[in-house]
């Protein structure tokens, strides 16, 4: 009884890099994610795994010197266009599957590392070069080119997704800055981690809320604006909203500030809400209050939420689906119940065991050995290989593809791709 779920946001092959003097940091390395309507999806990972960067990339607010290098972010696609795109993608996938393993590495942009030259720089191809590399009898090669040519920052007219104007029209990465501004705050809204630093200190709460409401809803009448502000402050259950409206952020407590932040994010009824560690800076009892509020309000507004956190407990209670991120990649994706019951990726399993659980006291927590890898170094294979107990040779060399191990449960690990047994490498 699989009901059709309508996707709000679909991310494909998102790659974001930071260009520092010391080298290039790959913060996001080919993220694929589908967010469906009215669900809340949790993104979990440790510091530097790229979970916040995903949020900033969606809003196209990647700070300098970072840049979104490639990928697509389809927002509110029409059903017909989406099905067409999925068909293209399936064709490309099928073609990819047919390739010998050694060539897979070279070609596939989304699932594999980019081809590099001898000095380790990324190679960029012209169209003719790609055609030369690609066997002519394979039709979907053009899709490969999409990804490769996106790297080259231009869309040739021969590739399917690139050429399909209807498809491109939904890609946020193709939009003008003005359009993005109309999306931010109105259609996609964000809640920040630390409410003490994320509210402008020299404007009152009322001023900040009024600014956003009047910008996106075209209301300029002061009285009406004020009534809207009060309404939204009541929605987030702030006691004495009239007073709060006239106060500056520093006069509020942490929990109140976070409520104001939620009010700001919800003020224009966004269809997607991204909450980046909304409770990390708060105390545990306040965290419970804020989480309850978030759940309730999001459901009430009929919005979709991406909840980013490092706390497994928070996602377990709040989210329907969970993505585990590691070193800029999504390593596992499943429904909340499934993930906690059947953690499949070794990292997920390690993370779950390392987390001290209330009422389940153990003599020793199981640990994941070592530390997070340096994102400045390229890893051709699996990012977790250095810390993995079950790593094999193939893990070091080939990046694992995303496979569906159980229904709606995806994992990127060679233990499940069959790659571990692949001796063609």
């Amino acid at each position: 009884m699989t009901t059709y779920k309508k996707p709000v946001l679909e991310i494909r092959g998102l790659k974001t890099q930071f260009f520092l003097r010391e080298g290039t940091v790959t913060a996001l390395d080919g993220i694929d994610l589908t967010v469906y309507e009215n669900e809340s999806i949790g993104m979990v990972g440790e510091t530097g795994c790229g979970k916040s960067m995903t949020a900033f990339s969606i809003l196209r607010l990647v700070p300098h010197p970072g840049r979104i290098e490639s990928g697509n972010i389809f927002f509110k696609e029409s059903e017909e266009v989406r099905s067409r795109r999925l068909r293209y993608e399936a064709e490309a996938q099928a073609w990819y599957e047919r390739q010998p393993l050694s060539k897979k590495k070279e070609y596939f942009a989304t699932y594999g590392p980019r081809p590099r030259d001898r000095k380790g720089r990324e190679m960029r191809f012209t169209r003719s070069e790609v055609e030369k590399m690609t066997p002519p009898e394979i039709a979907p090669h053009k899709l490969v080119m999409t990804y490769l040519s996106l790297l080259a920052k231009k869309i040739p007219d021969s590739d399917k997704i690139g050429k399909d104007a209807a498809l491109r029209a939904y890609d946020l990465l193709n939009k003008s800055h003005d359009y993005m501004r109309s999306v931010r705050g109105k259609k996609i809204s964000m809640i920040f981690q630390d409410p003490t630093t994320a509210l402008d200190p020299v404007f009152t709460v009322g001023q900040q809320l009024r600014e956003v409401i009047s910008l996106h809803q075209g209301i300029y009448n002061r009285a009406e604006l004020d009534s809207r502000v009060l309404k939204i402050l009541r929605l987030v259950r702030l006691a004495a909203p009239e007073t709060v409206m006239k106060q500056y952020p520093h006069e509020l407590s942490g929990g109140m500030k976070q409520r104001v932040m939620i009010a700001l994010a919800l003020s224009c009824g966004p269809s997607l809400l991204i909450a980046d560690e909304p409770t990390t800076a708060l105390d545990v009892t306040i965290q419970a209050q804020v989480l309850n509020l978030l759940k309730e309000v999001v459901r009430g507004v009929g919005s979709t939420m991406i909840l980013i956190t490092h706390n497994l407990g928070v996602v377990a209670e709040t989210c329907d689906r969970i993505c585990i991120m590691y070193a800029g990649r999504i390593v596992e994706e499943a429904t909340a119940a499934e993930l906690f019951e059947k953690p499949t990726h070794p990292y997920t399993a390690g993370l779950l065991n390392a987390f001290p659980k209330l009422g389940e006291r153990k003599d020793e927590l199981s640990v994941i050995k070592g530390t997070v890898p340096d994102l400045m170094l390229p890893f051709p294979g699996c990012a977790f290989v250095e810390r993995c107990e079950r790593a094999t040779d193939v893990c070091r060399k080939v990046r694992p593809r995303r496979v569906e191990v159980y229904p709606d449960h995806f994992v990127s690990c060679h233990l499940f791709t069959g790659g571990a047994n692949d001796n063609r490498v």
């Binding site: 419970a288 377990a316 906690f340 987390f355 209330l358």
Partner: protein, 442 residues
């Protein structure tokens, strides 16, 4: 034959590693042109807790509840404004001390009767007559003499003259006795030089690994700083040729780092490694007691697990005693033998781990446990959290400090402050309604 007697004797001879008696720390709030003191932040307001050798006491609470101040006050980093911090004190001394204190408060209120004077004299006699109390023999003789006179005066012996009237003499003798004991056993009454020696035995690891290491010092200097202050490590118990360098190498290995880390500067390390360095520094002087002030809250989950395991291992190896301070009840539960819960400068509940989690009595503890998100979606409970926020510690609520947020609060909660009472099983709670039946939590 008399095993029960033996056991009780053992308890009486036991040395309590650390005990705070009614410890307070007030921070003045200044205002105006001339820095007038307009009030006090009651950061720690009468905390009495005792820590046995080899155990881990967990201290939980939300930000601003004073848990960090407790740790810092024990180390005299912010010396307590009032109260006593006993270190390595025989239980009999502590017990007598508390009795004497209660008698003193009776005298202060002017409610003392002759019977109290007799009790006082008995208690003083027992305390200063025993060998367990480590006070110079002269002083012991003096004080026992005083006690004797008071007893006789209270018994109606007129031969001693006016100077020995128990009503005047008793408070004086009490103060003398208390000061004498405090000077010998309390950290916050020690002289500077004595304090310096004690410092080697009580250490701390801070929350923020980034600012707890001097950015200009190499790891070797950081770990060896203690030796520059207290001289080279004691070699008596170890091999004869056991110098500073060897000791530093040993320490750095014990915390899971390697020798080539020694010449590096702190900024080259990750958060978890920095915490290991801080731990090595704390261990250098072979302390008995370490205050762990949120040692893992700045770390990621996988690294946190590594550090927690390391702490456990070191405790077993060196027989360390920990005060583990954290806001995270799950981490505290994992680490501790007993847990104390703080709210607005007071301990409101204290119990062994299992007892506290399965049988929490204080509404705040219950709410705290209920607020913790469980990483298991099967427990998608409707949360019974608490409303409102922690009031300002400058002007804490009268009566029970939790009453404005408490669902059980009655009239007495608003006026009478509940005391920490023993309800059995080593479980203490400060609530007028602890007996109220609660639904099971987990």
């Amino acid at each position: 034959m008399t095993t029960a007697y033996d056991a009780s004797e053992k308890v009486r001879d036991e040395v309590v590693l650390l005990e705070t008696v009614n410890m307070k720390k007030l921070f003045p709030v200044k205002k105006g042109v001339f820095g007038r003191v307009v009030g006090h932040v009651h950061a720690v307001d009468g905390v009495s807790v005792s820590i046995r050798r080899g155990e881990t006491l967990g201290l939980v609470g939300e930000s601003g509840c004073g848990k960090t101040t407790v740790g810092r006050a024990i180390l005299m980093l912010t010396p307590p404004s009032d109260g006593y911090v006993f270190f390595e004190t025989p239980r009999i001394v502590l017990e007598s001390f508390k009795v004497l204190q209660s008698i003193r408060s009776k005298f202060r209120q002017g409610k003392a009767a002759a019977a109290d004077a007799v009790r006082l004299a008995d208690e003083m006699g027992r305390l200063f007559g025993s060998a367990g109390c480590d006070v110079s023999d002269d002083r012991k003789k003096d004080l026992c003499g005083m006690a004797d006179k008071i007893r006789r005066s209270a018994a109606g012996d007129k031969s001693l003259g006016d100077s020995a009237k128990w009503r005047e003499a008793a408070p004086e003798a009490l103060d003398d006795a208390l000061t004498e004991v405090a000077k010998r056993y309390c950290i916050n009454f020690k002289e500077k030089t004595e304090m310096k020696h004690l410092r080697a035995r009580i250490q701390i690891v801070f929350q923020d690994p980034y600012s707890s290491l001097d950015p200009r010092f190499t790891v070797e200097r950081i770990v060896g700083e203690g030796f520059r202050i207290h001289g080279p490590p004691a070699s008596a118990s170890k091999d004869v040729k056991f110098g500073e360098t060897e000791r530093i190498h040993q320490l750095i290995e014990q915390v899971g780092l390697s020798h080539d880390h020694l010449s590096r500067l702190p900024h080259e390390f990750s958060g978890g490694q920095k915490q290991r360095i801080a731990l090595a520094r704390a261990l250098a002087l072979e302390p008995d007691f370490i205050v762990l002030d949120e040692p893992t809250s700045a770390l990621d989950v996988s690294v946190q697990a590594q550090v927690l395991n390391l702490l456990r291992r070191l405790q077993d190896k060196f027989g360390l005693t920990y005060l583990f301070i954290s806001h995270d009840l799950s981490v505290v539960e994992h680490m501790s033998d007993r847990i104390a819960v703080m709210y607005l400068g007071k301990i409101i509940e204290l119990a062994p781990v299992r007892e506290l989690l399965s049988n929490a009595k204080h509404p705040y503890t219950q709410a705290l446990i209920a607020s913790i998100p469980i990483p298991d979606p099967k427990f998608k409970k409707v949360r019974k959290g608490i409303e409102g926020e922690v009031p300002s510690p400058i002007d804490p609520p009268k009566g029970c400090r939790f009453h404005p947020r408490c669902g059980l609060a009655g009239r007495e909660c608003k006026t009478i402050e509940p005391l920490l009472v023993d309800i059995g099983n080593g479980h203490f709670v400060a609530c007028h309604h602890w007996d109220y039946k609660v639904p099971p939590l987990l």
